[in-house]
């Protein structure tokens, strides 16, 4: 027993030694803690960015699809683009110019596709010819007569008339972007539709059908866009993943959970919730388009303009806006502020002309011979009640929601509306075949010349409405090079006629919302479609990781130290005992 005691006392520290060691440890720990917590926050960046969109594209080759989305915007690069004021600026092109019958484009000497192939004047010509052959919108270039290759990087496109249509409608967006037509020919159109080659900031890495597209950085990317600082590839974002999430609630949940950084197509219900979310920024863009009710002006009783105008007065657009929680802007004319050649005073005039007025509406109906003779709440004429069928798209949430509201608003002036719900594509088809009475429709395009004639010109649109005066004005814009002021005048004149003829009942302009997590810095959201530019984007990694790491390390140091102090205490006790 005595031997053991001796052994113990030899191993034990003296009280002073123990205190010194404890002090050293405490000072060291405090020092480390101070070091960690006073260091400036170390910002880390996430190298992958995820975007969630509602619908998968039909294909990835812009020349083979009928609608474009974020994938195309990143893989392809237009020659020009729009800035915040809808002014035309340079993107891929170094120089562009237009005269009465030609457009000249010059691309930079070192301009390359994402696979390293050079962008030459010849390939631009080939690309345009491919578009004419494959795209549903190939007729955009129908006036193109010939190509003149001025030098390796400069091409002059010669037209049979004014080139304004192509200038505004193709050069400024991805539909007019140059594709690697040479590679397309080698691999075939089907393969090119799965893996296209453009000159945009990113290129296709993988497409998992029905799920997502993974894009990786295009190291050859170069731009002349004035509103971005970084004119080359973005060194911070290696990959962009675009996920297709059709269910609204799922898409928003992924944003709230932080699994996706950007969401397009924010549903009406989520807007107020996201506005209050401190981690999310909401970007609002007015659609360059109008949502309206198309009227079959050839079918009685709608062939009477007074009946049509009565409906214009009966619709309460403010009530519609309130029902849609102000995610739309009431519209009385035929164009949107986000469009070229827009005239704000015309919209004001239209609003004053057709301000909500039930009395005026009823008077017009009476004038046209429609009165409620049998007191059943529905106006009638010659024994026939005024009953109309309204086609409402069941795949357009906002129009679907206000269908019943329009029904009740028209009921107030004695018109009985029967709602029939179908998919939007089917409704569009019915209106093209003149097989309808009232139909909810919308359009979305920034150049009135690129959309309104297809809806209102007698031949180009071939819908029920036909007015030679309006036709002439459309053709004026198509056959003469007009400056922006002249163009605005032409479309103002057109709309004045339309306001009298009332082939449509304009309802509202949709607001498009994009929700972005605040960890995304440097994003540019540009009109007219809210196109996203990622040149200056960095995605901040949340700091919680870092602080947690620091705390854990601190705790790790603390634990052995506290054990040590305990054993020191016991040892001290032994020392005491020994002395006794």
């Amino acid at each position: 027993m005595g031997v053991l005691k001796n052994l113990k006392s030899r191993r034990a520290l003296t009280k002073t030694q123990a205190t010194i060691i404890a002090l050293i440890i405490i000072i060291a720990t405090v020092g480390v803690a101070v070091y960690y917590f006073t260091l400036p926050p170390k910002v880390q960046y996430k190298r992958t960015l995820t975007i969630a969109i509602p619908e998968e594209p039909e294909g990835l080759d812009i020349q083979q699809v009928s609608w474009s989305n974020e994938v195309h915007d990143l893989v392809f690069q237009p020659f020009t683009a729009f800035n915040e004021n809808m002014g035309v600026v340079l993107d891929l092109a170094e120089f562009v110019t237009m005269d009465n019958n030609s457009i000249t484009i010059k691309v930079p000497e070192d301009a390359k596709f994402s696979n390293g192939n050079p962008i030459t004047a010849q390939i631009i010509a080939d690309s345009i010819e491919r578009y004419r052959k494959l795209s549903p919108y190939g007729s955009d270039y129908e006036l193109v007569k010939d190509y003149e290759i001025i030098n390796e990087t400069t091409i002059k496109i010669i037209f049979n008339g004014p080139p304004t249509y192509v200038w505004y409608n193709d050069l400024t967006n991805v539909y007019g972007a140059v594709v690697d037509a040479k590679t397309a020919k080698e691999v075939g159109d089907d393969a090119f539709n799965l893996n296209p080659i453009g000159s945009g900031p990113y290129k296709v890495k993988e497409w998992v059908q029905g799920s997502h597209v993974t894009l990786e950085r295009n190291e050859f990317y170069k731009t002349n866009l004035p509103f971005v600082e970084n004119k080359g590839p973005n060194p911070y974002i290696d990959e962009i993943i675009i996920r297709f999430i059709p269910e609204d609630l799922t898409r928003i949940s992924e944003l709230e959970a932080g699994n996706v950084e950007i969401v397009r197509g924010v549903p009406v219900d989520a807007i107020s919730r996201l506005k209050e979310n401190p981690d999310v920024t909401l970007y609002e863009v007015l659609t360059p388009g109008v949502e309206y009710i198309m009227i079959n002006v050839r079918k009685p009783p709608l062939n009477d303009v007074r009946v049509r105008q009565a409906m214009m007065y009966a619709i309460d657009r403010d009530a519609i806006a309130v029902t849609l929680e102000n995610t739309v802007l009431p519209c009385y004319s035929y164009m949107s502020p986000s469009m070229l050649a827009y005239n704000a005073s015309l919209e004001e005039y239209a609003e004053s002309m057709y301000a909500h007025n039930l009395e005026k509406a009823k008077d017009l109906l009476e004038e046209a011979g429609w009165v409620d003779t049998n007191d059943d709440g529905i106006v009638d004429k010659n024994g026939q009640p005024l009953e109309l069928e309204l086609l409402v798209p069941n795949d357009e949430p906002k129009l679907k929601r206000i269908g019943p509201l329009i029904q009740s608003q028209l009921a107030q002036i004695g018109i009985k509306v029967n709602i029939k719900e179908y998919t939007y594509d089917y409704i569009r088809d019915r209106t093209r075949n003149w097989n309808f009475e009232l139909a909810c429709r919308f359009y979305s395009w920034f150049d009135p010349a690129g959309i309104l004639p297809y809806l209102l010109h007698s031949e180009m649109g071939n819908y029920t409405y036909s007015n030679p005066e309006v036709d002439e004005l459309f053709e004026l814009d198509r056959t003469t090079v007009l400056d922006p002021v002249e163009r605005t005048n032409v479309y103002t004149k057109i709309q004045l006629i339309l306001l009298n003829d009332t082939p449509w009942i304009p309802l509202f302009i949709n607001k498009d919302y994009t929700a972005v997590r605040k960890t995304v810095e440097g994003l540019h959201v540009m009109p007219p479609f809210g196109t996203l530019y990622f040149n200056d984007v960095k995605v901040v990694q949340t700091r919680s990781y870092f602080t947690l790491h620091a705390m854990l390390s601190f705790a790790a140091l603390l634990i052995p130290e506290s054990l040590f102090i305990n054993s020191v205490k016991t040892l001290g006790g032994n020392v005491e005992k020994r002395r006794k």
Binding site: S139, G210, E256
Partner: protein, 313 residues
């Protein structure tokens, strides 16, 4: 045995007719719907001439019976057609999505039988006791739950709130859990109910009472007499449900952004992409016929009475 052979051959012949008739029927229905995929697809800015040109390229301007004959000829040479919307061969579209659908539906089907049937059997054996009442309650709950609501609830609670599983998409084994559960829970409920009903019916049969009366041990009575007979309709049901694993579950795939056949089928119907719809329906028809025959054979194997009936005939 030759009776069996005759039986199977007869079924195969009828099956072959069905397999051709069903997609033909679908083709006819889709012809009745006005419009065509190209017109539907093309936006406003596409001119009428352009649309007609594209229709000519795809052979959509030809009369319906010619298009049908093309489809039939392609089918017999193993060509499943070409999607107008996606501009890809239908076979490619199906191949890329089939795996994801099976990953969802097959485990759900297996679970529904591996968990559901024993659950139902136990409930039947312990009839009236607590276990039975509890099972009945839970089963009725999941049986009457709308898929949409169940899926969203699971996603919001376990995905968003608790963060135990991914909310949507295909990102590894963990991401399949919630979709499979949404599919499986109501299936388990259905299987359990059926198993319980069958078991109860069998337990009151005369031959089972005789077995009890003879003094056979419980286990032998239950396993080799009651269960063996109760499971026959259950097994047949398994085979009849098998073809539907191809069709996938549209609602679940939409909620969880799962790239399976269900959402492909739905999208193709809405956009009038006939080749895709017909190909998928054809596959389901073929599988249904095969599984039906298999189900019949197995039923005959398990239940001697059916075999004897055939031989008599």
């Amino acid at each position: 045995m030759s009776a069996m052979l005759r039986y199977v051959t007869k079924k195969l012949l009828i099956g072959a007719v069905i397999v051709i008739l069903v997609p033909t029927f679908i083709f006819l229905i889709m012809q009745l719907v006005p419009g065509d995929p190209i017109t539907l697809m093309a936006g406003e800015r596409a001119t009428r001439e352009r649309i007609e040109e594209l229709k000519r390229t795809w052979g959509l301007d030809k009369p319906a019976y010619i298009q049908y004959l093309y489809w039939l000829r392609n089918l017999l040479t193993g060509n499943m057609g070409y999607s107008y919307i996606h501009k890809q061969p239908v076979a490619y579209l199906i191949k890329s999505r089939l795996f994801y659908t099976i990953v969802l539906t097959l485990p759900a089907l297996l679970l529904s039988f591996i968990i559901g049937v024993p659950l139902g059997v136990i409930a039947a054996l312990k009839r009236g006791k607590f276990i039975d009442n509890l099972t009945e309650g839970v089963v009725t709950f999941f049986y009457s739950m709308p898929t949409y609501w169940l899926g969203l609830m699971l996603m919001l609670i376990f995905g968003l709130r608790l963060g135990w599983f991914p909310i949507s998409g295909i990102s590894g084994a963990k991401s399949a859990v919630l979709p499979i559960l949404t599919y499986a829970l109501p299936s388990i409920a259905t299987s359990a109910r059926t198993a319980r009903t069958e078991m109860l019916e069998v337990l009151t049969e005369d031959y089972v009472r005789t077995a009890w009366a003879k003094g056979l041990p419980s286990r032998k009575v239950i396993l080799s007499h009651a269960l063996r007979n109760a499971l026959i309709p259950v097994t047949v049901m398994f085979f009849l449900n098998l073809p539907w694993i191809i069709g996938g579950a549209v609602i679940i795939e939409t909620i969880f952004a799962w790239p399976g056949m269900g959402s492909l089928l739905y999208k193709s119907i809405v956009k009038q992409d006939y080749p895709v719809v017909q190909a998928i329906v054809f596959i389901i028809a073929v599988l249904t016929v095969i599984c039906n025959i298999l189900g019949d054979i197995i039923a005959a194997f398990l239940d001697p009475r059916i075999r004897l009936e055939q031989e008599e005939a």
